[in-house]
């Protein structure tokens, strides 16, 4: 933590273009200014970038604000009506994951409670529960959770397993004590080895720290692609400043303009929003900035390259919207990469967001060393190189097509 400010200062080395020759620097910065004004004046781009980024930062994590599903409603079918069954119910109710909302006489009645959404789980205590236990016979508790909803089921199951285990241990203890064993010894043989199972990296098991890091990088990725896409698609068939500079200059100027905007957006997302949503941060500021640099560059270059495929301004948004969900799921934090078919994993490696998200999770959420994420970082640089080439090629083709159309017209 102490070296944070030092790294903060170190990570932005002289960004002013003083050293560059005067005339070249002027035209590049003029181009960047033109680009920036084109972005801001285009309402569709401005709405997507400034409105979208802000809107999504609130809307996407909104459902998960309460983090962990707690207190799932449980309906109990107590066929035993003994002191022990009542004790078990109290145990279950005391669990943070479960709230006992009532008792009914039969399993079918309990089912109706679940189907109407009044309860999400049921517990059946069999007849003769207490008697069998005292006689030293084994008994079986049945419970069920609504597995149409994954988190509900796992919460109900966790809560009931621990309540059931507790009850079992209590009975074991009582049994051993009645057999005349010493309390300490009884305690000992009930649990001879302790299992210490602890979550690593997301200690609160919260849903926002799980979803937000990957999702936010994806939002930045998609909005940047849409912004560059709309800007390009709107320009290719009109005379404009984009024809006055070389394709390489245009691509560089465009990337620089979007980068300036996205440095602000990224700082807002990775800085303020991470803090707000209590996402753990393990890597230093400098390393995170170093990680995000090729991500933003590769994405911006990919955006310009992709924009050369469109001449209708409403298409980039549509294409990227349809791609968002597949990219989210293939990036490997919702559904494990180990289970995704190999061809899909290989195909996804060409999308800047995919290595960027996984590397960011490793680096910043799980505290991996820089050395271990280096291959992905280099992959992002390679993607940047590839898309830069494609972008220049694409703009060149668009310029040639425009000149040709002009000649035909006259």
């Amino acid at each position: 933590m102490a070296n944070l400010t030092a790294q903060h200062q170190a990570s932005f080395p002289n960004s002013s273009p003083k050293s560059a020759p005067q005339s070249a620097a002027l035209s590049l910065w003029q181009l960047v200014l033109l680009e920036l004004s084109a972005i801001v004046r285009d309402k569709a781009i401005a709405v997507t970038l400034f409105g979208g980024v802000l809107f999504y930062s609130i809307l996407y994590p909104l459902p998960y604000q309460h983090q962990v599903p707690t207190e799932q409603q449980l309906i109990v079918v107590d066929l035993d009506h003994s002191s022990l069954s009542r004790r078990l119910i109290r145990h279950a109710d005391a669990s943070a994951k479960i709230e006992v909302i009532g008792q009914v006489g039969s399993i079918s009645e309990a089912q109706t409670f679940i189907e109407t959404g009044k309860a999400h789980g049921l517990l059946v205590i069999p007849e003769g529960f207490r008697r069998d236990l005292m006689l030293g016979k084994g008994v079986t508790l049945s419970y069920g959770g609504d597995a149409s909803y994954f988190l509900i089921y796992s919460a109900v199951a966790e809560g009931l397993v621990s309540a059931g285990l507790d009850a079992g241990k209590q009975v074991q203890m009582i049994g051993m004590l009645t057999q005349g064993k010493a309390a300490k010894q009884a305690q000992m043989s009930v649990n001879s080895i302790a299992l210490n199972s602890v979550p690593a990296f997301n200690p609160s098991l919260g849903y926002t720290p799980y979803v937000v890091p990957g999702l936010f990088l994806l939002i930045l990725h998609q909005t940047l692609l849409i912004g560059t896409g709309i800007l390009g698609a709107g320009q290719w068939r009109q005379r404009g400043y984009w024809l006055d500079v070389s394709p390489l200059q245009l691509v560089c100027g465009r990337m620089l303009a979007f980068l300036l905007i996205y440095i602000v957006f990224t700082s807002f997302y990775i800085g303020y929003c991470y803090h707000w949503y209590q996402v753990s941060v393990q890597a230093s500021f400098g390393l995170v900035a170093l990680w995000l640099l090729p991500f933003l560059l590769a994405t911006a270059a990919a955006g310009v390259a992709m924009s050369s495929l469109f001449v209708r301004r409403d298409l980039p948004t549509q294409v990227l919207l349809l791609l968002s969900m597949p990219i989210l799921f293939v990036s490997g934090f919702v559904w494990p990469i180990a289970l995704i078919p190999e061809p899909l994993v290989l195909a996804s490696q060409w999308i800047p967001a995919v290595p960027a998200i996984m590397g960011m999770l490793e680096l910043n959420q799980m505290g991996a060393s820089w050395g271990s994420v280096l291959p992905k970082w280099l992959q992002l640089w390679a993607l940047f190189g590839l898309f830069l080439g494609l972008a220049v090629l694409g703009v060149k083709r668009r310029a040639a097509a425009y000149v040709k159309a002009l000649e035909q017209h006259s």
Binding site: Y56, L62, Y149, V161, I193, F201, Q238, Q318, P326
Partner: protein, 413 residues
């Protein structure tokens, strides 16, 4: 398309509109669909590819053989036996690591999803009656995998340890029949209701596909409405205002059956071809899909009437519909969402549909309870007359200057 061709096409278009029989308008919509490769893609191969790709992604269904790091510092008969227990569990695939730092690094790189440490002197401590601790760390940054592994590893190890305790009890002279009962007097039998083997395809794929389907429906209707803008400033009279209601009606009449085909394909694929369990009547779901489509149409219509600019209509609808999946309440329970999210959820047609979907597929919902759910769509249907009224006022007000400069440039293609 050149400028001239666009205006020619607009003239033909105008003639059709003036004719204005519903059948003529339907034919006009059909021709427009046929001429636009992107719209055609949106109703044909994109949904097909999308459905198959998303299903393929989740086709593993059950998380199996997830890599787990084992650091065996004890290297005794006992620790090896526990390692075998983990190997026997279909969910876990143990990988041996000689040192703890190497295992931690593998975990940080997401190469393994959990880490089990058998401490030095595990067996020794156990025999001497001290209580050793086995450390398990699971990666909860990957919440879904982490939770699963946490419970599976604990179950496997507890099973192994029970065997050890059983041998101990047998050695101390407890009769064999009694050992089992002594160890676990209370057994529990868990049932995953409605999705018996807890298959992720059954739980995750239907909402994902419904979200995709909703996006496609939104885009097709938005594009179709946006197409009307192409002709507004080419003609001297504003053709957007003429016969707006029958035009919208023709669009709905054309796209509703086309999208019902897609919805039907999704249902057939999931519940007939993949044979996911289904309790209720699937034809009920077709009815629910028709209602959902009408709700989507009405929202898009409202946005169109208010925005009247193609890129902005798409941007706004995207912002509205893109996060729909998170609000369906399938991955995260609805009743745990904050109030604001629950309100936002009501705006999304897909969340209403998913309730019916789960109701029919899981609970075998009856026609009457489905009907009461469908009645819940009424606010969406109120939007249709509201939008048409708004259209009449807004269009006549801004008929001439209506985004003229922008459209003039867009006309070029």
């Amino acid at each position: 398309m050149t400028f001239d061709a666009a205006s020619q096409k607009a003239d033909v278009d105008k003639a059709v509109v003036e004719d204005a029989g519903l059948l003529a308008l339907l034919r006009r919509e059909w021709a427009a669909l046929w001429q636009d490769p992107w719209q055609l893609a949106l109703i044909s191969y994109i949904p097909l590819l999308g459905v198959l790709c998303l299903w393929w992604l989740f086709s593993a269904g059950l998380p199996r053989q997830l890599p787990v790091a084992i650091v065996d510092q004890d290297n005794s008969q006992l620790s090896r036996m526990l390692g075998r227990q983990l190997k026997a569990n279909p969910v876990t695939e143990p990988q041996s690591f000689s040192s703890l730092p190497a295992a931690v690094e593998a975990m940080q790189q997401a190469k393994v999803y959990a880490l089990v440490v058998f401490p030095k002197d595990l067996k020794h401590d156990l025999l001497r009656g001290q209580k050793p601790t086995i450390d398990v760390r699971y990666n909860s940054q990957f919440l879904l995998v982490g939770k699963l592994l946490s419970s599976q590893i604990q179950l496997s190890l507890a099973d192994g340890l029970k065997q050890v305790a059983g041998i101990k009890q047998l050695a101390s002279g407890t009769p064999k029949s009694q050992v089992e009962v002594n160890l676990t007097p209370v057994k529990s039998q868990a049932t995953a209701l409605f999705n018996r083997n807890n298959n992720y395809i059954g739980f995750l794929v239907p909402p994902v596909l419904v979200a995709l389907w909703q996006l496609l429906a939104m885009l097709v209707m938005a594009n179709s409405l946006n197409r009307e803008l192409q002709f507004t400033s080419v003609n001297s009279i504003d053709s957007l205002t003429s016969h707006f209601i029958p035009k919208v009606l023709a669009k709905m009449l054309l796209f509703t059956p086309l999208f019902m085909l897609q919805g039907g394909f999704i249902l057939t694929w999931l519940y007939h071809y993949l044979a996911l369990p289904q309790a209720g009547n699937l034809t009920y779901l077709l009815l629910a899909q028709a209602f959902m489509l009408m709700a989507v149409w009405s929202l898009v219509l409202l946005v169109f009437v208010l925005m009247r600019d193609s890129a902005r209509v798409i941007s706004f609808c995207t912002a509205l519909f893109a996060p729909a999946f998170a609000f369906m309440g399938v991955t995260f329970p609805t009743h745990e969402m904050p109030q604001l999210a629950q309100w936002w959820r009501l705006i999304m047609p897909s969340s209403h549909y998913m309730e019916s979907h789960v109701g029919v597929v899981s609970y075998g919902e009856s026609a009457s309870s489905l009907a009461s759910q469908l009645i819940g769509y009424w606010p969406f249907f109120c939007l249709i007359p509201l939008s048409l009224l708004l259209a009449r006022r807004l269009f006549s007000q801004g008929a001439q200057p209506l985004n003229e400069p922008k459209n003039a440039t867009e006309k070029a293609y």
